[in-house]
Symmetry: C2
Subunit: 631 residues, 2 copies
């Protein structure tokens, strides 16, 4: 069953248990491409402003894109979008694995899920057909158990399963949507939205194969990738995983430590990717068709038994559940990672929330009476692991932390609010704005809260020093040198334009480790060729950036309708405080420079002084219909 | 003497007779590329607002660009920019020939001319050196005589000469700058600016050769051009010249007739390019390295003796001096064309002004008493030819017409103002906005007055009907069908984005018949490859469009400083009146639709409601310094 690059759209109403299949025209795909670009089209059209993100009126879109299914590295990713229960703004999360291609092979690009089932259900999608099935027997089960149960029930070991764990069922506000029990659509609580709809899982099986406009071109790019892979930074990602860069970050003073008080961690070597390779690494894992193999599989017996079925920790995880918490016990981190994958939680927000609680404890604002007796000191690995379980179970103190650090602090008060490290109520990911200054801006303005996958981090180059990187970035018109640690106009341009590029990646489900503007295996020129090879559309980088810009403008319009304003594009108090120790000792983000950069960023984006897209900007992007919604 | 793609900048102060040579850094060239992009940098920085365009404080920039000198079709063009004596706004005119490459071969990209010589001079530039020489003996001479005199005087028959004719000396407001006595930088009166500075000519000789980053890539593109030329529309341009399309325009009702009263002309066949081929064509001529050979050389004895030294008429000329005036005598048109080239005048404004005078005469507002006894009826070929001579000489009635139709009408009054067909005081070129609707918008908003070379005319396609053209345009992100004869939002986007593309062409001196977004020999993808091949810069279409947008924003900023406003982005009264006869019988531009389109165009450009660039728009384009000038 060959299919075109344009999958169908599955509309599932869980309240009425109806299923409809839509086949949009080609121009729809070319405008939105897929992923969260496509999702925003549905969310803006179907969601009334002000709905409860955990109520039946929220709409959850799971999507892939026009590139998904092509046999080449870095294209198998699923996007999840809905109004976020963590941020109250647009939610957005992405994960890799094999589910995305299996879903596309079944003939679809997206599922638009509305309503709420009266009891737990799961979706079963196979080769263009979809069915709502009872999930009463799966409810409460952890992800690995569900994988097994569904495959047995449907009698096909090759079925791919996207699901929530018990944390999603319990509406933990940073619950993730998992696939393969190891790939998380982690951020902004999309798992809680799925849980609120009583939707336990989406099982898929597809026997189709994508038909491409120019398969030779795609094969040629794949061959190029195989030949050049080991000469790129991606080779190191494959070797030691994303945590392989811990040493460099430590050196740069960019390893967030003890709830963002420092950029250096004395225990860095113990949580380093290379240490992982030398100790608990069982094997390297990969997503569909990808040569990078950046995913880890770890196994341990002591001091914690860690099940390799749940993979192994990423860099974000060794930082958030490690250095954020002052924890240098890699097995404990691996155990906490296992729990997050098993119960379905975002490791970043989970670790960030625990680190915040530890900070409160260290400062004496929280005591053992608050923490169910846990001694929540920085570095207490056992307490960290226990808290992860408590959060997943919403038990005791964990029930409070399951709301995320921002809401917990609001509840507790007593100055704990000042220790929170969030934007739009979402915890910072593990890249340090003091060191990589453009992130100060991007964390603040990103529509779905602090995020590290939405722009290229500060370039560590000037055109003279690193001509290759500069040449790569220059296809985006980024032709000037960009100094480090500032928020100059050039840096703001650089942040904004790379943001468009990464936003395009999120419209296609293109892995940012494999395709992107600077340090990735393939550059934007090659990505343009890939899009041409798969779709036959004569796209240029101009058009790709415009697709990305379209997504960002739709997201911002969504937030405006939800009542978010300029004050929400702001770093937390702690974001402006100087770090201590190492290369970033005494380094802070200057608030005045930040505010100036934000004003400029709004203006360069064609938004008004409050960050609201101007009608002309939306019209340029063919989004007149969005302008109508903002009236 | 090999030189890089970046030529030097020659600064000539004619008042002080000083010459300086500047070598800007690479980033300067990458930002502006050359041509009128580069020129705008100097004009905005050096010109105070409000100067007399014909006074010594005006600055005239003659320029080529980073591509000039490469051995491939369509790259030898010179741009002239200064404050326009015709429009009072920014002036801009371009011409082909061999001068541009000779100039680049001498090591330069631009001459920035300031001040005024106390008596006639000319510039002599050879291999990196420049000299101001006396031109007293050349003053008053026609172009062909000057070509001969300078070559003899300097003793090199290969010298290329850019010059003004007697019309430029006499400050005819639409005087042209000529090279080869056949190529005109015709529009906006740049010849008058040169005349006002007592600068008769710029003679150049260069023995250098461009050194390219990737000569093989350029050769490959040249080879592709040779192999594919005869399968493109450009082949027809070569065969019958630009006037070869008269039959199609007649059929479309898009041949401007009798001062824009009709889009059809009963004498069309007599002025058609094919008729020219069959009658007076002596040979086909070409610019440096170009395979198209669109230029005509005509010769005739009766009823007028036409000297082949002065080439032959373009389409614009057979229309403006032909159908505009109701004249179907091709030899008379060829004679008028010869006079324009000999005396240095823009055929379009010249013909447009005469047609307006004929209209006034037909309506009885002008009589023989006003016209030095000429019976100025439509179709009177002899009167037309005599008037061309009178204008060049500023003699009698010609002295008034030498001011252009707008100023002449202001002087005469009596309703003649309502017969004027100008934007920003410049006469319409020969493409009919009623039929090609996007031109209604572009004529109005173009910074240097009504112009047909600043955007792609309406596409006569939908994606289904003409996939190849659609695919070509789609590299600019123009992915939607664009209906004819409307000013829909899609049409406005289409006009604006192709305007950016053509503006880029004008930054590089890239001939619009050879390189461009839709119907040209080479498309924008190939142009991107060409820029890469010559410069080694890793440009994308995104960057090329940004360079074009930068030029347009600088031009608009220039006009804002000169006091132009929204009311100047307006069609003349006659621009809204329905045409009579043929396919456009009764067809008019709807004023409300036009005003709505203009508002949208401003907004999509990131300009305020009066068409003034917003600071954020300028910042996005790295033009913070221009924003400062607008404060």
């Amino acid at each position: 069953m060959p299919y075109g690059y344009m999958g169908k759209i599955l509309h599932v109403n869980l309240t009425n248990r109806t299923i409809e299949i839509e086949e949009p025209p080609e121009l729809f795909y070319r405008m939105y491409m897929g992923g969260s670009g496509l999702a925003m089209h549905y969310l803006l059209n179907m969601l009334e402003p002000g709905v409860d993100p955990l109520g039946p009126d929220n709409v959850l879109v799971l999507s892939v894109g026009v590139l998904t299914g092509a046999p080449i590295s870095g294209l198998s990713r699923v996007m999840a979008n809905a109004k976020s229960p963590l941020t109250g703004a647009i939610g957005d999360a992405q994960g890799g694995g094999f589910w995305p291609v299996e879903f596309k092979n079944a003939g679809f690009d997206a599922i638009v899920i509305t309503g709420k089932a009266d009891k737990p259900v799961y979706l079963w999608i196979q080769d263009g057909q979809a069915e709502i099935r009872d999930a009463g027997h799966l409810w409460g089960k952890v992800t690995g158990e569900v994988d097994k149960a569904i495959r047995e029930e449907l009698g096909d070991p090759r079925i791919q399963i996207l699901q929530i764990g018990p944390a999603g069922e319990k509406l933990v506000r940073f619950a993730a949507i998992m696939n393969m029990s190891t790939r998380a659509c982690g951020r902004t609580g999309m798992g809680a939205v799925m849980g609120s709809k009583n939707l336990k899982a989406v099982a898929v099986r597809g026997h189709g194969r994508i038909e491409m406009a120019d398969p030779d071109k795609v094969r040629e790019l794949a061959q190029w990738g195989r030949e050049n892979f080991e000469h790129t930074g991606m080779w190191a990602f494959g070797l030691h995983g994303t945590a392989g860069g811990v040493n460099s970050l430590q050196e740069l003073g960019a390893l967030p430590t003890r709830n963002w008080s420092s950029g250096v961690f004395e225990g860095w070597e113990k949580i380093w990717g290379q240490t992982m390779s030398d100790t608990i690494l069982k094997e390297r894992d990969t997503c569909y068709g990808c040569i990078v193999r950046c995913k880890r599989v770890v196994e341990a017996k002591e001091p914690y038994e860690v099940d390799p079925y749940y993979g192994g920790p990423e860099y974000e995880t060794v930082a958030s559940l490690g250095s954020y918490c002052g924890v240098d016990n890699l097995v404990a981190i691996a155990k906490a990672n296992e729990l997050c994958n098993k119960y379905g939680m975002d490791t970043i927000s989970c670790g960030g929330t625990i680190a915040w609680a530890m900070d409160c404890y260290e400062k004496g604002i929280l005591t053992k009476e608050d923490t169910d007796g846990l001694e929540l000191k920085f570095g207490n690995a056992e307490a960290m692991v226990q808290l992860v379980q408590k959060i997943a179970d919403r038990q005791g103190f964990g029930d409070l932390l399951a709301e995320g650090s921002y809401r917990a602090a609001q509840k507790i008060g007593k100055g704990t609010e000042e220790l929170v490290v969030t934007v739009k109520k979402q915890e910072y990911p593990a890249h340090v704005p003091q060191a990589k200054r453009s992130l100060a801006l991007v964390y603040a303005v990103n529509p779905f809260g602090a995020d590290h996958m939405s722009s290229d981090h500060d370039p560590n180059y000037d055109p003279g020093a690193d001509k290759a990187t500069h040449a790569r970035a220059s296809v985006l018109g980024l032709i000037n040198p960009v100094p480090n640690r500032d928020l100059s106009n050039e840096k703001v341009r650089w942040a904004m334009v790379t943001e468009y590029a990464y936003s395009f990646l999120d419209c296609c489900g293109t892995c940012q480790f494999v395709w992107g503007p600077t340090w990735q295996l393939y550059d934007m020129d090659q990505l343009r060729e890939l899009v041409r090879g798969i779709t036959g559309w004569r796209v240029s980088i101009h058009e790709l950036l415009e697709v990305g810009q379209r997504r960002l403008n739709m997201m911002r319009a969504f937030n405006v309708r939800e009542g978010l304003g300029k004050e929400d594009d702001m770093l937390p108090k702690k974001g402006f405080i100087a770090l201590k120790g190492g290369a970033t000792d005494g380094v802070s983000v200057d608030k005045e420079e930040f505010l100036k950069a934000r004003d400029l960023y709004y203006a360069m984006n064609g938004w008004d002084e409050n960050g609201v897209p101007l009608p002309g900007t939306l019209a340029k992007l063919r989004l007149e219909w969005v302008a109508e919604k903002l009236k």
